[in-house]
Each structure stands twice: as structure tokens, then as C-alpha cells.
């Protein structure tokens, strides 16, 4: 099962410069464990020591924020697209 994961510029040092990597897992948590096995160090930039998503990291599954889906337990399936982005201040508002 392949899930496409978009990595922001700031974290590409963990993916050998790759912008998009592939991983697998039935949940976001499992996907991050899978990515960690090939891209060591990535997981701890996204997850705090107590096991939650880092406050300034947003993760989207098919463009929807996982905090409103089930956070790390969000279900994933083949062909899903996961995007990781740093939190930024709003624009023209």
C-alpha cells in the first residue's frame, strides 16, 4: 500500500532532499513509523515526546487537517496523499 507524503523544504534533510516520499501504514502513526525506518530523525520533528503532533506542524490527509480527523490515529488507505507543512501566520487577513 503506497501513500504519497509531501515533505516541506525544512525537513528534506531527512529525506535526502526528496520533496515527495512514499510510505505505508493503516494509520498516520503507522505511516510515520514506516517513514522513520528509512528517514531517521523525521518523526521526532513532527511528534512531541509525549506522543502528540508538534504544535507548529500541520499534517493533512487529502487536504484535510488530521487534527479534525483522528490525529495520529487517522485511518489511511492506498492512494491517500499526506502533506506536512509548518504553521504560518495568515495572509491578507
Amino acid at each position: 500500500m503506497a501513500i504519497e507524503v509531501r515533505i516541506p523544504t525544512i525537513l528534506r534533510s531527512y529525506t535526502g532532499g526528496e520533496k515527495v516520499v512514499e510510505g505505508q501504514g493503516g494509520t498516520l502513526s503507522a505511516l510515520l513509523d514506516d517513514l522513520e525506518s528509512r528517514h531517521g530523525g523525521l518523526k521526532e520533528r513532527l511528534i512531541t515526546p509525549d506522543g502528540g503532533l508538534h504544535r507548529f506542524v500541520n499534517v493533512y490527509v487529502n487536504d484535510e487537517d488530521v487534527r479534525f480527523l483522528g490525529s495520529l490515529e487517522t485511518r489511511l488507505s492506498d492512494g491517500d496523499s499526506v502533506t506536512v507543512l509548518p504553521a504560518v501566520a495568515g495572509g491578507a487577513r
Partner: protein, 319 residues
């Protein structure tokens, strides 16, 4: 409608149906979209509401007296709204803006007499906030209203936008707005949740090009102080391609000439509408048209193909 002054005419904007874009405008289980036309405010954006409330609140607290300097980090609309309010109330305004915001916004601000301090493009709005905070520390007699953390921003929507929408659309099931300072969503969302059982409050967050996120350190990220995730039921990230496509669709099919951030909001609203159709649920979905398209013509979003527009928006703060 007659008003004593321009400031008295803020708000009470029209809510218009979208008979062509609504997936099921009629029938026994209608799924309808409704646009709240905030470009009808005096300076042409939803930000007039927050600007007026924040200044009025600061006046009530005795922070402002004629001649005082008001300071604000903004990439556009809030600055323009504050410039108008400050002009009419007799305050000097300094806006901190990322240098890569559109020329229309700079010219408008300058015309209103505001002074602009440019912050580095690479730092985006985060950096504008940081620069404004530094300026505030260096100039203790200046008043920073700080839209990202000022409760009067959300209160404006709790007391005006929310009640207006509910009065016009008592059958509302969804409210969709853009996520920037989060004031519109927090204020309107709270009001609707208190008054409409089961209402869904949906955020559309702009996803910029990579240049905007740049090499920002994740530990220095920014979440507005006003933001409370428990007010929302879902949050969508919308990229420039979809935003541009929907912005154009809104003009072509419904005649509404909106800014690009509105395209992102419409994209999220249509996504929810399609889910309702699929589930056989009737829905009345209200969304915010933040402003008109005029200020963004120079971005390139309104000419050429979608691909060309998307390329033109790379590196720009389009919402």
C-alpha cells in the same frame, strides 16, 4: 440605506444564493450555497468589521487619543481597513507588511496616509508579526492592536457577522470561512454553535507555494493566539490551483468577482456540498466572500491559463 458616516455603514452585507454553483438548488433535499458579500464593506473587505471593533475597544480602554500611532502587522486588508478607520478618527498608522504583497495594497495604504514598514518576503506573515512586535517594544507609546490575538477581532464577528447570517439563513447547516487571524471563524463559529445545534464550522486555509514556507524553522511556527480548534469541525488546506479555478468559476457562473482567498473558501464549501449530496442530506452552506478581485489583478491570477496563474502565485501571499 442612509448612514451618518462611513464608519456607521460597516457590516449588514448581503447574503446571496448561488443557484448555478449549488449542487442541488431546489428539490426536497436542497444543497445550497450562500455567499456573504463582505466586499460591500466601506474599504471592500471583511476586515472593516475587525478594524472598527479593535479601534473602538482601544478607545474604550483609553489607549487611543488623537495623534497617537497605531501599529499593525498585516499583509493587506486589515491595514487598509485600519487606515480608513484611523484616518477618520485621527490616528497615525504604521503597517508592517511582507515586501511581496501586491502593489495595489501598498498604493491604497499610502493613499490613506498609512506608513509601510517592509518585512522580508522570505519570512512571510510570521516575520511581519515579529517585526511589528520589535517595533512595539522600541516604541512603547505606540498602540499595537494585534489582530492575531485581539479578542475584539473575533467579537466583531460574534456580534455582527454571526447574527446577520443566522437572521438571513435560519436553516444554516454549514459555515465556511478562511483561516488567517482566525477571527472570522472563531467569532462567527462560536455564535452559530451557540444558536444552531449541529452546525458545522469549516476552515479553508490557504496553502502557499514552497517559497512562502521557505526554510522556516518548525520550532518558530505561528498559531494565532485567537485560534481555538474546538470551534471548528474541519479544516482544509487549499492550494493556489484550486483557489484560482474556483475564483474564476465564481465570476463565470455567478458573476461574483472575488479575491483569490475566496476561491479557496468556495473550494472547501463545494467539497462539503458534494458530501451532503452524496449522503442525501439537505444543506444550507454559507461562506464568506472576503473581498473583491481588484487588489489582486497584478498577481496574474486572473489572466491566462490556470497553470500560468498557479505559476504566477508561487512565492506570493495570495490570501
Amino acid at each position: 440605506m442612509r448612514f451618518d458616516s462611513l464608519l456607521d455603514s460597516v457590516g449588514r452585507t448581503p447574503l446571496v444564493g448561488l443557484p448555478r454553483l449549488s449542487p442541488a438548488p431546489t428539490g426536497d433535499r436542497p444543497v445550497r450555497l450562500w455567499a456573504k458579500l463582505e466586499q460591500d464593506n466601506p474599504t471592500g473587505s471583511v476586515k472593516d468589521r475587525a478594524a472598527l471593533y479593535m479601534v473602538a475597544q482601544a478607545e474604550k480602554e483609553g489607549l487611543l487619543r488623537p495623534g497617537v500611532t497605531v501599529l499593525e502587522p498585516t499583509s493587506g486588508n486589515t491595514g487598509i481597513s485600519l487606515a480608513m478607520v484611523c484616518k477618520l478618527r485621527g490616528y497615525r498608522l504604521v503597517c508592517v507588511m511582507p515586501e511581496n504583497t501586491s502593489t495595489e495594497r501598498r498604493q491604497l495604504l499610502t493613499m490613506y496616509g498609512a506608513e509601510i514598514v517592509a518585512s522580508p518576503a522570505a519570512g512571510g506573515s510570521n516575520q511581519a508579526v515579529a517585526v511589528a512586535k520589535e517595533l512595539a517594544a522600541q516604541n512603547p507609546d505606540w498602540v499595537m492592536l494585534y489582530q492575531y490575538g485581539n479578542p475584539a477581532n473575533a467579537l466583531a464577528h460574534y456580534e455582527t457577522t454571526g447574527p446577520e447570517i443566522l437572521e438571513d439563513l435560519p436553516s444554516i447547516t454549514h459555515f465556511v470561512a478562511g483561516l488567517g487571524t482566525t477571527g472570522t471563524l472563531m467569532g462567527t463559529g462560536r455564535y452559530l454553535r451557540e444558536n444552531v445545534p449541529g452546525v458545522r464550522v469549516i476552515a479553508a486555509e490557504p496553502r502557499y507555494g514552497e517559497l512562502v514556507y521557505g526554510l522556516r524553522n518548525i520550532d518558530e511556527g505561528f498559531v494565532p493566539e485567537l485560534y481555538d480548534g474546538s470551534v471548528l469541525t474541519s479544516r482544509f488546506s487549499v492550494g493556489p490551483r484550486e483557489a484560482v479555478r474556483r475564483t474564476r468559476q465564481l465570476v463565470e457562473e455567478e458573476g461574483i468577482f472575488a479575491g483569490i482567498s475566496t476561491g479557496a473558501i468556495l473550494h472547501a464549501a463545494l467539497g462539503e456540498a458534494m458530501k451532503c449530496v452524496k449522503n442525501g442530506e439537505p444543506a444550507d452552506i454559507a461562506f464568506v466572500v472576503c473581498d473583491a478581485g481588484w487588489k489582486y489583478l497584478s498577481t496574474g491570477a486572473y489572466a491566462g491559463t490556470i497553470e500560468e496563474a498557479e505559476a504566477a502565485l508561487e512565492g506570493q501571499l495570495w490570501a
